[in-house]
């Protein structure tokens, strides 16, 4: 039986090899191994550094010891500590200027600068080689290679066989390119941003480890392997959010992210169990092959599977109601926010849904739920973003909102649009985050010089930075245009495709609409609603991004006289990634434009819609399901309305921000109140969701825990104590038999032997 | 070498013949051994005298040949002393216990090629036990009882010390003794002594070369087991009067003496059997016979003259070892007690363990290479035994030159001790100097 299965697996892999005969993967394991190598090397360096930093004798009772007596790398601790200006001020007083000498750094703090970006760039190079080969071959089936058998469970019902296998297809290739490419840039940025931090090697080790797990997530050929990556990135996210764990708040933020993610993971696990119970396999290829045959279209099982998967995705990708951890995750270093909490990890949910496109196509209800939740998240988070002052918080809510867009897309069955937006979002959001990092970096340095305790992240304290940070300004400006949906920047095309899909759905031209009709739901109204909401969200996006840019870069400079002298652009490691990402944000959109758009014809980008064609083999299964169930979309009538609306909304939002804010004399945080009226107050407090969760969930759990603790203390412990007391009394009583005389014991044994023998003989 | 065609001609003995011949062999062997032992005492005294350039016993009979008889008579007729504190029965039991194992061991040693008789072929071994070498090990380890008990029962502290020393020493060296024989098992494939002899014949090399390490260790251990110089600590005259038999007199004392010589004889015979081919005559192929295996005769046709010549061969080999025993007595001084223990536990035990491992590996390699016992290179150089021998001699060289490094084999103490002594001397000299200076000032 097992042999047969094995033979079958081999046959399919052989067939796969034949179909894409000219596609020969070039050492795809290297893509995984290189970041892992980086992690190991950097980890060793960090252990070495930690060893050396160990005190000779830890002083007792001196809470400030860490701050005072760590080796000289500590001196610039405050530079990285962007999220916590209070701590920064504290540190400051302790150090004084004398601690600022730039001594030569030990190898443990110089080597990671080469190792960490080096391995990533190498991995990117390997990925590019594979990409070029795939581009040339354009294989119709996925390239799967099992390196070794990881979890062979030979149970009687049907073996669970999970191999340590890599799956290379167009989707994972795309994700790999994004992860390694954007990751490389962010690693380079990190070199500039973090190199003064005492925990620099540790930081780089975590970052490498994260990339390794993220690549495992996208390259794994089965759900369990994906789950390994899924958990791994969760772990790294936790480690990096709480990177400056000496601050309570940072550690708490890490824990929050971890715990909220667990809820999602529970969903993921349940979905995997359901899948295995119903299909007997968890490998992508086999699942997609067996699912249409073994599960009913729109049935309860597939719907449940998809909903549970979506629960997992919601946790990881910060969707309602599990989005609360992401804004808090900004406690981590800014490059981390860019890489993990904007460009890659949080999009894992989108990847999961796209990867499971076949299943989601089979479950229209679940898909609709995904789309609705995504839409709700988009508009909800965008509205919160309107009234945030912390530059990273604004970007964080923007990320949540954009993730909502992606989920709306994949929920509506517009998988390509979702993935497209994922990609462009990775470009412009990474650019924005890195830009904000550059701004914070500059602000910090400036404030550091004057020992000011102003909040370096509050946009109200910035202003007019355009003159001091020109590169940052221009790159962030491009990214803002992109996210606001101004053509021809990347965000316009991807976002337009999403709203376009909703528009099509509202006109019943989406496969999902047909699918919903098949299970008896009229989807057109829903899709109309989605279109409207997404449009409003897009408008809000444009507005708050404009607001952020205006507060940060325009108007009067509000940092103060002395600080102003120290405002300047960072080193090339900080600006180069920005420029590259800005370029990507500018031109990334052309990957998937329709042929009708004039500029495409102009530049002759081939047939247009490159991404559509690229991803077609991956989504072929979903298409087949749709076709088999007669829900393949009708011919879409191109409509100018959504495009026009999108352009109008994007420009309108920016214009509104400009008219509302630029002429006003902007004030600093000390002067400007956080909110003015009730609506602003609610927005500022993020709709009190955290407080709600605290009241409803955290306190309830707390009460239950106390109740349980009481039960444990009095009932369980009482029983145990009673048992203990009983045995004590019994011991005292029976102890008398312990005479200490071996003969007596021997005699007792003898009696026992006699009895046993007697029983043996007489039965 | 084996002649298969002659199998039918050889007859096995009937049960009755077997029983009768066994009794005859027991009686004969016992008599011969006792007589030889008596003569050995004379031999020892003669050799001692020769080594010391004196005459030795020369009054009783021609050349002192009657001396053992005279000694025996004297011992029997002498008054027996019995210490008041001695533990009655054990005091008497001890000499007996010490003499028995020495004699019993002789039973398993084949002393000549099987002899053809009218009633069938008679194996020339008192008891061809299926557990030959193990029997030997078992009974040689029992010799210690007599000595320990003698020491204890005498109620004399010198005797007790001697007894304890003997016990510790014999137990220590028994391990090396047993381990050194282990290598032989690999090749012989059985534990019977006739098989040992036969294997040496077939292989064409005697085991003293093939298992050089085993030979050396067995020999050294046998000195320790017989309590002979340089291992005669249990009866070290200068330290313990005469050790465990201090309190014994007359025939009881004599029995210890007889036991010692019987032991020497047995051990020499064993050495001859195990390592010098037993009754095998060098370069003669006619004596190549094993005996009956499953009722079939294995080997050449036995003949009376072969039996006689092989017995002579055996006797000569044994005699050579006996003489060496006696020569060593007057050549090598006594070890110190810690040196004895060092040699036993720190050198011989690990070295013999290592030798077992290396030999096993070599045997495995040879067997895997398909080399047989009979194989000869250039027509006469035995391959199997030769390879093993070269490996073993190399190992022995390693043991002697690298492992010992003058620690135990040197008579002047260990390297560390010499260093310590030198340091001590230097310190004493410094103190002397100081006192001298102080005296001057």
């Amino acid at each position: 039986m097992l042999l047969l299965q094995e033979a079958a697996v081999h046959a399919t892999s052989a067939a796969a090899g034949q179909a894409g005969e000219s596609f020969a993967a070039f050492a795809p394991w290297l893509i995984l191994a290189l970041p892992l190598l980086g992690f190991v090397l950097n980890g060793l360096l960090s252990i070495t550094a930690a060893r050396r930093a160990l005190p000779a004798l830890p002083p007792v009772g001196d809470p400030h010891w860490d701050a005072h007596h760590e080796p000289s790398e500590q001196e610039h601790h405050a530079h990285g500590d962007d999220a916590h200006p209070a701590a920064h001020a504290d540190d400051h007083g302790a150090h004084g200027h004398d601690a600022h000498g730039h001594g030569p750094k030990p190898a443990t703090h110089t080597l990671p600068s080469f190792i960490a970006p080096g391995v990533l760039i190498a991995a990117f190079a390997v990925a590019v080689v594979n990409f070029l080969r795939m581009l040339a071959a354009h294989p119709e089936t996925a390239w799967v290679h099992e390196y070794w058998s990881w979890m062979p469970v030979n149970d009687p019902t049907g073996a669970l066989r999970v191999g340590a296998a890599i799956q290379l297809d167009q989707l994972s290739m795309l994700m790999t390119l994004v992860i390694t490419g954007v990751g490389s840039l962010i690693h380079v940025f990190s070199v500039g941003y973090m190199k003064e931090d005492p925990g620099y090697p540790r930081y780089m080790a975590y970052l490498n480890l994260f990339v390794f797990f993220m690549l495992t997530l996208v390259l794994g050929a089965s759900y369990p392997l994906m789950f390994v990556g899924w958990e791994g990135v969760g772990l790294c996210s936790y480690l990096l959010i709480g990177f400056w764990f000496k601050e309570r708040a940072n550690a708490d933020a890490g824990k929050k992210a971890f715990i909220v993610n667990r809820i999602g993971d529970f969903g993921f696990l349940i979905a995997m169990f359901l899948l295995f119970a119903n299909l007997g396999t968890l490998n992508f290829a086999e699942v997609m092959e067996r699912a249409p045959a073994q599960m009913a279209f729109g049935g309860a099982v597939v719907t449940a599977v998809c909903l549970f998967f979506f629960l997992g995705a919601a946790g990881k990708s910060a969707q309602i109601p599990l989005y609360v951890w992401l804004p808090d995750a900004m406690a981590g270093p800014t490059p981390v926010s860019a890489l993990i909490h904007a460009a890659t990890m949080v999009t894992a949910g989108v990847y999961l849904v796209a990867r499971s496109a076949t299943l989601f196509t089979m479950a229209p209800v679940a898909s609709l739920v995904v789309a609705l939740v995504g839409t709700a998240t988009a508009i909800f988070a965008a509205s919160i973003g309107l009234k945030q002052w912390d530059i990273k918080k604004i970007l964080a809510y923007s990320t949540v909102s954009q993730l909502g867009f992606m989920f709306a897309a994949v929920g509506m069955g517009a998988y390509v649009a979702g993935v497209f937006h994922l990609m462009t979002h990775a470009f412009f959001k990474a650019c924005l985050f890195l830009g904000s990092g550059a701004v914070i970096h500059a602000m910090h340095e400036a404030l550091h010089h004057t020992h000011s305790d102003m909040d370096a992240q509050d946009v109200r304290n910035m202003g007019g930075l355009r003159r001091y940070l020109p590169v940052t300004f221009w790159t962030m400006g491009i990214a803002t245009l992109a996210i606001a949906g101004v053509p021809p920047f990347a965000g316009f095309f991807s976002k337009d495709e999403i709203t376009g899909a909703a528009w099509d759905g509202a006109h019943g031209q989406l496969p999902l609409a047909a699918g919903l009709a098949k299970v008896g739901i009229d989807g057109t109204l829903w899709f109309g609603l989605i279109w409207g909401a997404l449009s409003i969200a897009a408008f809000m996006t444009a507005f708050y991004m404009g607001r952020m840019m205006i507060y940060t870069f325009f108007g009067q400079n509000r940092t103060g006289e002395e600080e102003r002298k120290h405002l300047h652009e960072g080193s090339w490691t900080l600006t180069l990634p920005l420029v590259v990402l800005a370029l990507a944000s500018t031109f990334g959109g052309f990957l998937n434009v329709e042929r009708e758009v004039p500029i495409v014809r102009w530049f002759d980008f081939g047939q247009g819609e490159a991404l559509h064609r690229w991803l077609h083999p991956v989504l072929a299964g979903a298409d087949q399901v749709a076709e088999a169930n007669g829900i393949a979309g009708a011919a879409v009538e191109p409509s100018a309305v959504p495009i026009a609306v999108a352009i109008l909304l994007g420009l309108g939002g920016l214009a509104l921000a400009w008219t509302m804010l630029s002429r006003r004399a902007l004030r600093t945080a000390a002067e400007e109140p956080a909110y003015a009226n009730g609506v602003e107050r609610v927005l500022y407090h993020k709709y009190y969701v955290d407080e709600l969760y605290d009241r409803v969930v955290v306190r309830t759990v707390g009460w239950l825990s106390r109740l349980q603790a009481g039960f444990d203390r009095y009932v369980v412990d009482g029983l145990v104590d009673f048992g203990g007391k009983m045995s004590e009394w019994l011991g005292v009583a029976l102890g008398r038999f312990q005479t200490g005389q071996v003969n007596t014991y021997a005699f007792a044994i003898l009696i026992g032997v006699t009895l046993v023998l007697y029983a043996f003989v007489h039965t | 070498m084996m002649q298969a065609g002659t199998v039918q001609a050889v007859q096995d003995m009937s049960d009755t013949a077997y029983a009768v011949s066994s009794v005859v062999k027991v009686v004969l062997t016992f008599t011969v051994v006792m007589v030889v032992v008596a003569l050995l005492t004379l031999l020892e005294r003669k050799i001692s005298a020769w080594m010391q350039d004196r005459m030795g016993p020369n009054r009783v009979g021609p050349g002192g040949i009657g001396q053992p008889l005279a000694d025996g008579l004297k011992n029997i007729l002498k008054e027996e002393t019995h210490p008041g504190e001695a533990a009655g029965v054990f005091f008497t039991l001890a000499p007996m216990l010490s003499i028995i194992p020495a004699l019993v061991t002789f039973a398993v040693i084949p002393f000549a090629a099987p002899m053809p008789t009218r009633w069938g072929v008679m194996p020339m071994v008192v008891a061809d036990l299926p557990v030959g070498i193990l029997f030997l090990l078992a009974f040689s380890s029992l010799g210690v009882y007599g000595i320990v008990m003698a020491g204890w029962a005498s109620s004399n502290k010198y005797a007790l010390l001697g007894g304890l020393r003997a016990g510790a020493q014999m137990i220590s060296y028994e391990i090396a003794l047993g381990l050194s024989l282990m290598s032989l098992f690999f090749v012989v494939g059985n534990v019977g002594l006739p098989q040992v002899v036969w294997t040496q014949q077939r292989m064409g090399t005697w085991f003293f070369f093939t298992f050089a390490v085993s030979f050396a260790f067995f020999w050294i251990s046998s000195f320790a087991e017989t309590n002979r110089l340089p291992f005669d600590l249990p009866e070290a005259e200068s330290e313990l009067v005469t050790g465990y038999h201090t309190e014994y007199s007359s025939m009881k004392f004599s029995m210890f003496f007889i036991a010692e010589y019987a032991h020497v004889l047995t051990v020499s015979a064993l050495l001859a059997t195990l390592f010098l081919g037993g009754w095998d005559i060098p370069f003669l192929q006619r004596d190549d016979m094993l005996g009956f295996v499953d009722g079939r005769w294995v080997g050449n046709v036995p003949a009376l003259w072969i039996t006689l010549v092989t017995f002579l061969s055996f006797a000569i080999k044994t005699f050579v070892f006996i003489v060496i025993f006696m020569l060593v007595r007057w050549t090598v001084p006594r070890f110190r007690y810690d040196q004895v223990m060092d040699l036993g536990w720190k050198i011989m035990l690990p070295a013999s363990l290592a030798a077992v491992v290396v030999t096993a590996a070599t045997v495995l390699a040879l067997d895997s290479a398909g080399v047989t016992f009979e194989q000869r290179a250039l027509g006469f150089v035995p391959v199997y035994g030769g390879v093993l021998g070269v490996v073993n001699v190399a190992m022995l060289a390693v043991v002697v030159w690298a492992m010992d490094r003058g620690r135990t084999l040197s008579a002047t103490g260990s390297l560390d001790e010499r260093r310590a002594r030198a340091k001590q001397t230097a310190r004493l000299r410094a103190i002397e100097l100081q006192t001298a200076e102080r005296g001057e000032s």
Partner: protein, 172 residues
């Protein structure tokens, strides 16, 4: 054979009794050695040559030497204290022991369970001995079927050696 067996059996039982009843530990030890010799003889009569010789080699040659050694080292043999318990104990213990012996004899004399073991099966010992040799008959199952117990025994012995050294050492 039978006669020999009975001879050694009677000898074994009487020396065992003497072992138990002698006041002098050395005497006890000597009688115990005698018992072991008788048992070795009986083993040989039963066809277990190897076990018989091992009995002498290990029990008589090593273990009992150790006992005697310790007795002498502690000098217990000369002025021994009487250590046998009172008459009540003797009677009760003797009675119990007799009951045990009777029960055991009863258990053995009844319908004995079918031979256990699939390893070598109930093939006659003599045939196996002829086939593999005296030592091989034990060695082959020992190094194949019982390899793991053998290794454990080796470890146990090593532990015992180390333990004994540590315990008996004056200064650790």
């Amino acid at each position: 054979m039978i006669i020999l067996f009975w001879f050694f059996a009677v000898l074994a039982v009487s020396s065992a009794l003497l072992t138990v009843t002698r006041k002098n530990p050395v005497a006890s030890a000597i009688w115990l050695i005698a018992t072991f010799f008788c048992l070795a003889a009986i083993y040989t009569l039963l066809g277990a040559f190897f076990i018989g010789i091992i009995q002498i080699l290990v029990y008589a040659g090593a273990i009992m030497i150790l006992f005697i050694f310790v007795i002498m080292l502690l000098n217990l043999g000369n002025d021994y204290e009487p250590d046998i318990r009172g008459h009540v104990w003797k009677v009760v213990a003797g009675g119990t022991s007799l009951v045990i012996a009777a029960l055991l004899a009863r258990a053995f004399s009844g319908e004995l369970p079918a031979p256990l073991g699939h390893v070598a099966g109930p093939a006659s010992l003599a045939a196996q001995t002829a086939d593999r040799g005296t030592v091989g008959v034990i060695a082959i199952p020992l190094y194949t079927d019982y390899m793991v117990p053998l290794q454990f025994t080796a470890v146990l012995l090593l532990a015992a050696v180390v333990g004994a050294v540590v315990l008996a050492k004056r200064k650790v």
